[in-house]
Every structure is written in C-alpha cells, then in structure tokens.
Symmetry: C2
Subunit: 308 residues, 2 copies
C-alpha cells in the first residue's frame, strides 16, 4: 500500500445538463480524485480549503473513504469555491455561468507531516504556483508526481506553469490544451515537445474519444467505454486522474506496462462517474462493478492477430 497525496479543490458545483439540473452539490477536483483513488489500496490525504458553508455531510463522504482530511482547511466565516455550469446538448461543451473563488483565492496548501513522504503526489487543477509550493514541501522527491492543468493557466500563468511542469513526471491535459501549449497540431509532435519541457510521461485526455499515454517513443491508447447514456461529464477527467494515480500508488510499480494498466483503470472509473450527477455514482461504486467493467474494456480493445 502506497501513500497518495491529493491536492485540489473541494467545491460546490451546480450543474445543468440536457437531462436535468442540480442545486449546489459536492464537487471539486480533489473530491473526484479522492473518491476514485479510494477504489485502490492506498493511504490518501487531501490538501484543500473550504468555507464554513460546506456541509459536514460532504466532508463525511470523504472521511467514509478513509481519506485523511487533516490538511483540509476550513476557513472560519469563509465561503467554499463555487462553480456553476451548463452543458450543451452534445455534452462535449459547456458554458461556465458562475465561478466564485471565495476561500480558494488565498489558498496556501500545507502538506500534512505524515504525507511529506508520499509515494505519489496528484496535483489537481490549481494555480501552478500553488501546485509548485506542494512539491517544495515534500521531504524527499516522491516516486511519481502527476499534474493536471487546463487552458486557463496557459492563458494566464504560462511562466509559472512552465516552471512547475519541469518538476513533474506525468502531465495530464486534453488534446486542445496540448496543441495550445506546444503550437503543434499533431498530438504526436505535441507530445515530443511536452516531454522536452519536463514530464517524461504525458496523458492526453480526449473525453469520449479516450486517452493517449506517451513515454519516450511509445504510445498507448485507451478508449472511453461507449455508453448508452452520458448523464453528467463533470469530474470525468479528475476521476480518470484519481484512478490513474491511485492505481499506481497501490501497485507501487511505475513500469510503462503498469502505466498502461493505470490508464485503463482511470478510463474505467471515469465511465462510471458520468452516469449520474456529480459524485453520486462514485460514492456508491462497488468493487465488483469496477471489476466487471474492466472485462468490458478488455473485450472492447483486445484482439488476437498472429503477427509475423
């Protein structure tokens, strides 16, 4: 069992999709990452910040998964980060209606003493300087540092982003972000450029079109499981990241072959996450459901051509 340190938002999400809408519900990158990673045999902690308005029941959801919340700061009189969005009919795009940073604006992450020797650090989408400050607090270099980010930081904090990714092992971004970061349209070319920027591994997330893992000259591809219905894509990328990093922390094997498995595990969990609003599906997800769907991934992708 490895130690996994998770850094990211714990938040209120308010979501509208073609299938319905929610009130303020539990969301945030660290929440989805933590729930996904809890499927594996890991000791995990979340570093985050919330306000006093976040219901205790939401924190209990994370505690029930044995996630250490020592360094989840609750700001007295503060308000929790709040995001409201509306998905378009095809669910591939969305409009952000409200973003209130609230307590996140002054977030100063403090790594708990017991996790300064974590094996794997999973840095959810945050300001790159915040992500870097976490790396700098580690007692020794973690075996693996995974960083998720988005186009917003490429637009608004590119020097800081460029700095932090020098210090990480795996970058996870989507296809458009990979193109924006490198000015290369071909993802194969973009991957080469990014690997020269620091991370030895790159995961390019393509949503319903799957995910690509790049390392040196090697490429691995995992499709998204074709689903009858996608209900709410919120958190799918974070769930992928949680499954990926949680599986690697639990198996303590950082070979490329095991990274492939981690990509499949991440994709597998993401396929559940989108089936209900918010974290609902991940909260109730059972081990045997996870295993059953891994068989579906195998049937979906494995073939047996005799090669010469």
């Amino acid at each position: 069992m490895g130690k996994l340190l998770i850094v990211g938002t714990v938040a209120f999400d308010e979501i509208e999709t073609p299938f319905g809408k929610t009130d303020k519900i539990l969301g945030g990158a660290a929440t989805f990452i933590g729930l996904a990673a809890s499927q594996y045999n890991v000791e995990s902690a979340i570093v985050s910040v919330v306000g006093e308005d976040l219901p205790q029941a939401y924190l209990d959801v994370l505690k029930a998964k044995n996630i250490d919340l020592t360094s989840l700061e609750i700001v007295k009189g503060g308000k929790t980060f709040y995001w409201k969005g509306k998905y378009h009919n095809d669910l591939n795009s969305r409009d952000t209606l409200v973003t209130e940073l609230n307590t996140l604006a002054d977030f100063n992450p403090v790594v708990p003493e017991g996790f300064k020797d974590a094996d794997v650090v999973m840095l959810g989408n945050l300001h790159p300087s915040t992500q870097l400050s976490v790396i700098n607090q580690m007692k020794e270099r973690p075996k693996l540092i995974v960083l998720d980010t988005m186009n917003f930081w490429m637009d608004n904090a590119l020097p800081e982003l460029t700095e932090v990714i020098k210090h990480i092992d795996v970058l996870t971004i989507n296809d458009e972000e990979a193109r924006q970061l490198t000015k290369e349209y071909s993802l194969v070319k973009a991957a080469k450029v990014i690997q020269e920027m620091g991370p030895k591994y790159l995961v390019i997330k393509k949503g319903e079109h799957g995910a690509l893992l790049f390392h040196e000259g090697k490429i691995f591809f995992a499709p998204a499981l074709p689903l009858e219905e996608v209900f709410d894509p919120t958190g799918a990328g974070d769930t992928f990241a949680g499954g990926f990093s949680g599986y690697l922390a639990a198996t303590e094997n950082l070979s490329f072959n095991n990274m492939k498995n981690a990509v499949i595990h991440g994709s597998n969990l993401a396929s559940f996450s989108v089936e209900k609003f918010g974290t609902e599906r991940m909260q109730e997800l059972k081990k045997d459901e996870v295993n059953k769907r891994l068989h579906q991934f195998k049937a979906l992708t494995q073939f047996d051509i005799e090669l010469q």
Copy 2:
C-alpha cells in the same frame, strides 16, 4: 483465397491540403478499396465506369495488383467522374469545390460472370439503387455484403438506402451519419437502431478517433494510429473498407473475433493511405511495412491487467 467483388467509383480527384495541391490524379472509392484489398490473398474485380479521358496508366495501376477490370466500363467519348476538394487546416473537414458526375450519371453496373459467386461483396459509396442492383445480380447470397454510404444519400435517397441496407451484413458509416440515420446521439443506441434496420454488423468510422464495430450486444474499438503527419485524408475510409473486406475474403472466417482483426487491418492500411496524396502510398505499400505497423497497433492497444 476468397473472391471479392468491389463496386464503386474510379475517378479523377483534385485535392488541396495545407501541405500542397495536386492536379487531377487517380481516385475513387473502388480504386482505394481495390488497392487496399490487394494486400491480401484475394481474387478481386472492380465494377465501375469511366470515360475515355482516364489515362491507361491509371487502369494499369489496378491491373498491376491483379484486379479484374472486365466490368470496368469505358464509355466512348465519355468523361470520368471528377471531384475537387479543399481540406481545412485541421484536415478534419473539407469543402467540395467541384463534383462532375459525368459517366457516373448513367452507371449501370454489370457483375462479371466469374464474380456472380463472390464470397464477399464490397459496395462502395454510390446511389443505393445502384448498390441494390449489384446484390440482385448475384447468383447466390454472398457470404458477406458490406456497404459504405454517406449523408448525401440520407438526404436525397433515404427510401432507397433503407431498402438496400435490409439486404446487407455490414454497414460502414461515420459517427455523424449514424446519428443522422437514427436520430440517436448515443452511438450505442444508434447501433441498436441500425441493427434493427437490417445489417447484423455495423462499423462506425470516427476518422482520427478510430472505428467501432457493433454486433448484437458486443462492441470492439480500434483506434487510428497516432501519426506525426497526416498529409491527405482522401480515401482513408475506402482504404479501411478495402482492408476490412479484403482481409475477411482472404481469411474466409466471419466470426466476430475475425471481424475484430479485420477492423484492425482496415485501420492499419488507412494509416498508410493518409501519408501521401491520393493513392500514392497505397500503390507502393509493401507487405513488411504492413506487418511492422500491425505490431505498432498491438503495442498501442494491448494491455495485461489480471482480471478477477
């Protein structure tokens, strides 16, 4: 060795991409299908029509691959079907600048006597009534009938298209066409509706995002090989269809497992087709290049998770 009957256009293409432009070069669905299928141990024939303006050298390209051209009609004084198109910067979309049907307008396909007992019939994109007339000329029901079509016929000849697909085994269309044909956004739901319309198998082509094979409750997915450069996507779908049908005709095995292999073989050949303008790459393609890239497909997709 099985017999493969190919029906479709042999044409002039004039292509502009961000990387350059061509004069009128050899193109057409049947051309790409025939070149791809010639990679396998099949006896094949093309049923098509051209005008006297098509250079003999173009027909010699097909003859050199041992494709029977007995029923490739050359209309005296006629002009060959001509398509001119320009690809956008991302190569995912294109504008048709010119379409001249010419001799194709009165195309009346005649199946050569020696191929009325073909094992596999590959119906390239044409008016659905023309496709149906080929099926009706077969002496006995072929072991497999594969049909490719496009949104144009959904817009302009839906009753005829609905009729012909009752008589086929495999339909190949792209994702947007599957949605248009069924009014279902989810491809899983669309596949169910299409299988109720006739074809027991459905291939949904997603271009750079790969291809899905549906049969009863089963789904198989083959990615497109990530390439450093895509030069000209023209004919990629037809090359896929030629590899798919050619492989099945050669192996004479219509099990679902072998259909999976056929999807990989089709995707593999399509990855070559896009590397040069028109048919150039397919004309020169060597067996050992094909085999080598199959190894890349295996590395790209195969993983080894122990399942419970």
